[in-house]
Amino acid sequence: MNGTDAGKDSKKGLVHGVLPWIIPAAFVCAWFIVSRAGILPPYLLPDPVTVIGTAHIYIFAEPGSAPYAGRFLQDASTSLLRVFLGFSIAVAVGLPLGILSGRVAEINRLFSTFINGLRAVPGITWLPIAMVWLGIGMRTTVFLVALAAFFPIYLNAMAGARQINPLLLRAGAMMGTGRIRGSYAVLLPGAMPHIMTGLRLGLGISWAYLVLGELTGVPDGLGAVIMDARMIGRVDIIIMGMILIAIVGKMSDALLVAFLRLSFKSARRMP
């Protein structure tokens, strides 16, 4: 490889690295200009520096030294736990049921009417009944997260199991692969691209329903902080909370993808 090629390559790498940050940076710039130029008053849109300052207190300050000081770790870990529990339940039910429904017509017929009917009910309408049944807090939030994450996981697992080339299953069978090994050595990897899509969609919607569950008067969690701040008119905290959820949510997605790639050849070697 000669000099110009190497130069081209590093230039390409630079563009590749910078590309994802252009729009967030432009967004922050526009925010800065709008708030500093006085187009919107601070009580509607505080400027980025204020929000960064608020975030600094929220994340790093001594708890009790100011309102919301140092609560981040507590709130984030509570929210993460709720997402993790709800998402895990959705995976544990949705993945096997989806794969089975994709392969066995009778099972699909047994469940699909019920599940699709259930799916037509907007998740938010479950909130009142969940609060009556499960009370305010952890259990309601986990229930809502599990319910919402279930559908994309189930539907994509089913689609993945259904689209597998039947010749791959035959190839497995003729090499002496029984039902059990066939399930995890042929079916699961063959459906992996769809499964991965379903899991990522499910985790994404988990965060949406986490906030819904936490908006109902629970004392801790990232969603609770946002709702709490609205009542005392702290828009800077609302915006900070939204940004923190974006960051934590994006990180959890990256973590999920990394975990799948680490655990499954089929996820690692997806075309």
Partner: protein, 250 residues
């Protein structure tokens, strides 16, 4: 050599029902294949060759008749009857060597020697240098070599091949035919090879079963006595070709 046949079919018939109309695909197919014999089933497209092969493999059950392997009736697929498919059926998430190891994994018989056995068979098909490649990174001819290696490694009683070289270019196809003949002789492998290509059948087979269409049935058996390696330009080809064409279209 004439003990219990490696494989025999007795009156195998297959009917499908399409919109309530009964359609016969196979009718009373009866033939047998001896141990170590290389048999080609030749017939035109649509005569039911693939259906017959799927029945031999145990993927589908015939409407009537039965298939015996070494005298025992078969009902489902198994590693005693391995299949090389026409399409690419390698597992795309496994490397070349992992694909070849697939059938050995979990089989107690091969515990502790899987790595060595995989390497040996990859060397036989000439792909040892490509063992860490993924299927999507190798050519069609190489994929068929991997398909061949992953079933030969299981030491099957019978190797079933469904037009495995049909999608390869002429040169690669000749190479694969030579490789298959060489490996078949070296391993004394019983092979049943389905093809619509009459010249291919004459080149590779010990015995040719000629299959007609509507309904699909085997009407004639032809033994090819010609020494190997055979060349398409040899005069004997014309004689064999003549007999096959006459049987196919009489």
């Amino acid at each position: 050599m004439e003990q219990a046949a490696a494989l025999e079919t007795v009156g195998v018939s297959m009917h499908f029902s399409v919109n309530g109309v009964r359609k016969g695909v196979l009718n009373d197919v009866t033939f047998s294949v001896g141990q170590g014999e290389f048999t080609c089933i030749v017939g035109q497209s649509g005569c039911g060759k693939t259906t017959l092969l799927n029945i031999l493999a145990g993927f589908i059950a015939p409407t009537a008749g039965l298939v015996r392997v070494r005298g025992r009736r078969i009902t489902k697929p198994g590693p005693d009857r391995c299949v090389v498919f026409q399409e690419d059926t390698l597992f795309p998430w496994l490397t070349v060597s992992e694909n070849v190891a697939f059938g050995l994994t979990g089989n107690r018989k091969y515990r502790g020697e899987i790595g060595a056995r995989v390497d040996h068979f990859l060397a036989l098909v000439g792909l040892l240098d490509y063992r860490h490649y993924l299927p999507r990174d190798i050519s069609g001819g190489m994929k068929q070599r991997v398909e061949l290696a992953r079933v030969l490694v299981l030491d099957p009683l019978i190797l079933l091949m469904d037009e495995p070289f049909a999608s390869l270019d002429y040169r690669t196809r000749r190479e694969m035919q030579d490789l298959l003949i060489a490996l078949g002789q070296e391993l004394s492998q019983t092979i049943i090879f389905v093809t619509h290509d009459v010249d291919e059948a004459i080149t590779i087979a010990d015995t040719i079963e000629i299959m007609t269409i509507n309904p699909g049935t085997i009407t004639e058996e032809l033994h090819i006595g010609q020494e190997r390696p055979r060349r398409v330009t040899e005069a004997s080809y014309g004689v064999y070709r003549d007999r096959i064409y006459r049987a196919l279209w009489s």
